[in-house]
Amino acid sequence: MGAHQGRITSSKFRMSALGTVLGGSLAFGVAAASAAEITVWSGYPEMVPFYEHVAEGLKEKHPDLTVKVEAIALREHEKRIALGLTSGEAAEVIELGTSTATRYLENGLFNKAPDAVAAFVTDPANFSEFFRDSASYEGAVHGVPLFRGQSALYYNTEMFKAAGLTEPPKTMPDFTSYAEKLTQRDANGNPVVSGWSLRLSGGGAGIAEKFWINMFQYGENLVEQAADGKWKASFANEAGRAALKQYIDNVHGLKTVTVEMPADAEAFERKQTAMFIRESWVIGDIASKAPDLPYATATLPRGSIVAPVTLWTSGEGEQAEAAWAFAQATNDPENLLWLLDNVGWLPNRNGLDYADILSRKPALAAFVDYPDSYEFFTLPNIGPVEEILTRTADRLTQAFGNASLAGNDAGIDEVLVAMESEINGLLQREGLLAE
């Protein structure tokens, strides 16, 4: 009995071992057979239909190519890139903002573009110098520019009309006076619909980025490049004070918005705020979630942030070739117009005819049709940029919740000095602080 059982066990073991070997071989065979499969990693879930649309269009030229799109929230996307690229397990096509991609470029973790792609990207007819540079490292093209984040004002036209406002605010002080008129309050005077939704809380970097956009309207930046090519923060001045004071006044003084109120695109779509500043993707979001929302957009008083997002590739051989073919196909004019029309992100490529889309979606005009004097800034392509934004956001969140700063210019200055000194400390730590 025991011997018999032993034989059965040993036979079972041999069978399972054989099964494992066969299963492994089969899996290897499948992997080998699907060599023409590439994966696209995106940090913007709303981009999935776009990449699928591009893949569909590629079927004619590359019938054997299978494109798998994996999009997750941006912060998680950044983590998987860090782990994936360093362990050699990353997707073949990776969508990433240039400021974050710099570290990977410095370490040679993204592929250099083949000649044909490089020629396409460096052609001034296709991309302006800013976007050419954003896809290059040490003079060589490493990526294909795709879209950009750029901000504009969104405002609810019905609420503007009800408040007797006929045009969007033109200056930053206008924003505050408009917010006062637009705020809807209950019988006790508490705001129920915010006049101007400000980014006051949340996960981190976004708070600092939004603050930077507002401060830029006053003529100041969070960090600026000096003549020696290094960087410095010097916003503890009148412009910085005006920007932070505007937040504090609106939250604690005028109470046009409170920290507890729903905020951002969702609040705007639910008519819980009258105006807010955001990128163009909100247009697509409104079209799908609140198609009847009466709204318009307007340019900001001085200019906007431009955060270029580029497609980079990793891997080698046939898959790398397929990845470049895919990345370049995203830039077909038909695909880019589809992107703007259906997703809302702004293409970086020159020479696209937006007339048809603008006639149907006039809200996009504030993003593509701006005055000649309109200025742009972008996040610096330096290692500690995320840390700078995160730490600044933490200080800002504390300041926004501090009612004692209302009418307290000295207190506001203290916050600005602390923020400035922390940023310069980070720059110094990395050897990036300008003289």
Partner: protein
């Protein structure tokens, strides 16, 4: 000879398990210790040795201090709520073991432990919402002004403690119930004959007899309290500007330093500090709760 053969066979038999344990447990800890004294950005091949520089920087880093303070408050807060409450609940359920609803009581308390964290945290986020949440509505009936639960720096930490305790309670009750079932009935019967009341039996028999269980549950609760991350992340942060102040906890700070700031060596030094704290607290718990001359 036979003994040596047996010993060799036993060693060979456990070797694969030991190897896996060393690979998935010991090696990462050793690697973390090694990284903590190096400067590494996760991408570069260079990892210069910098001695204790990471540790020196840690203790002047306001975000690390904030994360450490929040984590300690959350861990001890959860411990202080979970242990007494779970002990009392387990006693009540055990006392009602013959009730038709005994199964229901156990299930009702254990469910939060098995429910997926993210939807549960989202539900709590709604409960705590300052504008739409039922908690402020409820407090309003008693004349309490609405609170910004998820934005106020103190209340946001309280919210994380409540959520973590709600989750930890089920497991702790379950373990205590097993403990109660193993206690000799004769002791209670003798106490009853001596005129002891129910609460007296609980205080003078159950609590001391359950010390080993309390040790186990408190170690597990405290360690998981120090590892809090997802609860703070989902409950008090946001996707697109929904109100919520980010409660900075150690694991969140480590992840941020590793994958956003690309400072893996620095994050490793945080992990070493966390490891030392948890080790120290576990040893202290063992020494407090160990019965003199007996096993815990």
């Amino acid at each position: 000879m036979l003994r040596r053969k047996r010993w060799r066979f036993a060693m060979l038999a456990i070797l694969p398990t030991l190897a896996i344990f060393a690979w998935v447990r010991i090696y990462p800890i050793a690697e973390t210790l090694r990284l903590s004294v190096h400067k590494w950005d996760i991408l570069s091949k260079n990892k210069p040795f910098i001695g204790l520089a990471n540790f020196r920087e840690l203790f002047s880093d306001r975000l690390f201090i904030e994360a450490l303070t929040n984590t300690a408050i959350i861990a001890f807060g959860v411990l202080l709520i979970t242990i007494p409450l779970s002990l009392v609940l387990a006693a009540l359920i055990h006392h009602r073991a013959r009730s038709r609803l005994a199964g229901f009581y156990e299930t009702a308390i254990f469910i939060p432990h098995v429910v997926s964290l993210v939807p549960a945290a989202m539900a709590w986020k709604w409960i705590f919402d300052a504008k739409l949440g039922p908690l402020n509505n409820l407090l309003g009936w008693f004349g309490v002004a609405p609170k910004a639960w998820l934005f106020d720096p103190v209340l946001a930490v309280v919210c994380v403690i409540v959520l973590c305790s709600w989750q930890a309670l089920g497991y702790a009750v379950l373990i205590y119930l097993v403990g109660f079932k193993s206690l000799p009935v004769s002791l209670y019967e003798a106490a009853k004959l001596d005129g002891a009341t129910g609460p007296q039996s609980f205080r003078l028999i159950s609590v001391p007899m359950l010390k080993p269980i309390t040790l186990y549950v408190s170690v597990v609760t405290l360690v998981s309290g120090f590892n809090v991350y997802a609860q703070a992340f989902v409950l008090a942060s946001d996707a697109q500007g929904a109100p919520g102040r980010q409660v900075r906890v150690l694991v969140l700070d480590m992840l941020e330093n590793s994958f956003r700031n690309y400072r893996v060596g620095y994050a490793a030094s945080e992990a070493v500090v966390l490891l030392l704290i948890v080790l120290l607290l576990t040893l202290m718990q063992f020494s407090f709760l160990r019965e003199k001359g007996g096993r815990t």
